[in-house]
Amino acid sequence: MIQNLVDGVLVGSILSLGAIGLTMAMHMLRFANFSHAELLSIGAYAALVFDGLFGAIHPALAEAIPPLSLTWSLTLALLLSMALTGLSAVAVDKLVFKRVRAKGGELSMVFASFGVAMIIRNILGLVFGLNPKLYSQDIVFAIVVSRDPFLLIKPDQVFTLVAALLIMFILHLVLSRTTFGYSLRAVAENPTLAQVSGINLSRMIVLIWLIGGGLAAAAGVFYGLTNQISPVLGRDLVLPIFAATIVGGIGSIYGAVLGGFLVGLASNLALVILPSGYSPAVPFLIILAVLILRPHGLFGEERT
């Protein structure tokens, strides 16, 4: 039970990072972006490539930072991958969503996002193959934290959780202390009023994709570090990320963080009573329950 709790928090932190970008883009551009989770895949694979590159350039960088399996080269790769994934999110918007937005309705955007998701997933499969990949071939032993109740934690998991919380804390500082953060929240709440208040919406859209893409890349790398990377990573995480967004309330960044943890915990705690095969159904059930009981989510407000 306690193991499920710990695992749930860890998965939750990854889902939160993914859900923050989704909730911002979804609220501002008024469409359900089913390709958002593919940004996690792009981030994970981009980091894999950069990691290999740095390791080859300077072998010392490929040394693991004990007790983690994480290497210096992967840490650098993570940062580059966040930037690259943010830029690819901007590129996808320019190439696809912006054009559809100009001519089509919300539904066209949703279908376009399905198309984008499939294209990204299949390109990754073509380039990197369908077999799962790992950042490190080293076997990292889990640390037995306690024997009764039995609790195993890998150092990488602790790092991932701390790093994810740190990223969220930095985002919180930006949102609550800087006028740039106020602008982001203003645009998420009321784009028209934000424009009237002198905020350049097109520039904000670019920034939101950059931030959303960057956070998704971090989530993808953290997922790869604690699990494995495969082209279906996005497909597997799209529903839990959507569930996190809906639970938190679309447009609420803090709601997305809480939603991520709630969905992560619920999916893992469900394993206590349900056979593991049913675990992927839990996010669906959460989405249904929230839509019935609290359609605007925990922190969401009615659309104005």
Binding site: E189, N190, T192, Q195, V196, S197, G198
Partner: protein
């Protein structure tokens, strides 16, 4: 002196379906100009068209002699024009102070001083500056919206029904405050449903109906005009048995 001139404006949300069919309005410098008319007359659309929120397909808007037709809404502040929407005119999830800091974000080192000056002007807001703006009463929200408009030091303020949804007392306060701004040289162009109250404080009035100009004149004259009173101000009506 005229501050803002909108001539023969044709505008609407959907192409080929104009709501405004050639409306002309002039706002004199440091005066209150009010636009009234029945529901669906196009009053709010006119204000939004001037502010760049509804595309203008015909006619022109001039500000102090320079054409600004179809401006980018986020550039209006830089031109010296503030727009206060009718509803949802504050960011509810931000605190009062954050709302002001947001509009003052380009003021650099002056921002803090200007924020404090606004708080001196609106002491009720100063007392609640760390509270979420969504928690404010209707009247206080309207004052926050006005304070946000004033933050950019505008020459012209466009107001869309500032008294909507307010108690008569709060409505009176907001309108009187708007009127007092003209003493500092600010030009006010406002849309009102609250016709009598608006006419009492306005200098000039335009009456629109069905997207066209109907009558215009000095506000006091219109207030005393029996025909206008009968048609637009809820005077005696001809009733059919």
């Amino acid at each position: 002196m005229t501050a803002l001139v909108a001539s023969n404006i044709v505008a609407g949300y959907v192409p080929d379906l104009p709501i405004l069919k050639g409306v002309s309005v002039t706002a004199e410098t440091a005066k209150v100009t009010v636009i009234i008319g029945p529901n669906g007359a196009g009053k709010s659309t006119l204000i939004k068209a001037i502010a760049g929120l509804v595309p203008v397909s015909g006619g022109t808007v001039h500000l102090n002699g320079a054409e600004i037709t179809n401006p980018r809404p986020d550039r209006m502040g830089a031109l010296g024009v503030a727009y206060v929407p009718q509803s949802d005119n504050i960011f509810r999830s931000l605190t009062i102070r954050q709302n002001l800091d947001l509009v003052l974000r380009n003021a650099g080192k002056e921002a803090a001083a200007r924020r404090e000056a606004l708080f001196t002007r609106f002491p009720a807001l100063a007392d609640k500056q760390t509270e979420k703006a969504g928690a404010l009463s209707g009247g206080q929200r309207q004052f926050l919206a006005v304070a946000m408009a004033l933050a950019i030091d505008p020459k012209v303020i466009l107001m869309d029904e500032p008294s909507a949804g307010l108690s008569p007392k709060a409505a009176q306060e907001v309108l009187e405050y708007a009127k007092s701004l003209t003493e500092q040289g600010v030009t006010i162009l406002l849309v009102e449903q609250n016709v009598k109250q608006a006419l009492r404080m306005a200098d000039h009035c335009y009456i629109l109906a069905d997207g066209r100009n109907q009558v215009d004149g000095a506000a006091q004259d219109l207030l005393n005009d029996p025909v206008v009173g009968q048609i637009y101000l809820g005077g005696k009506r001809v009733t059919h048995a």
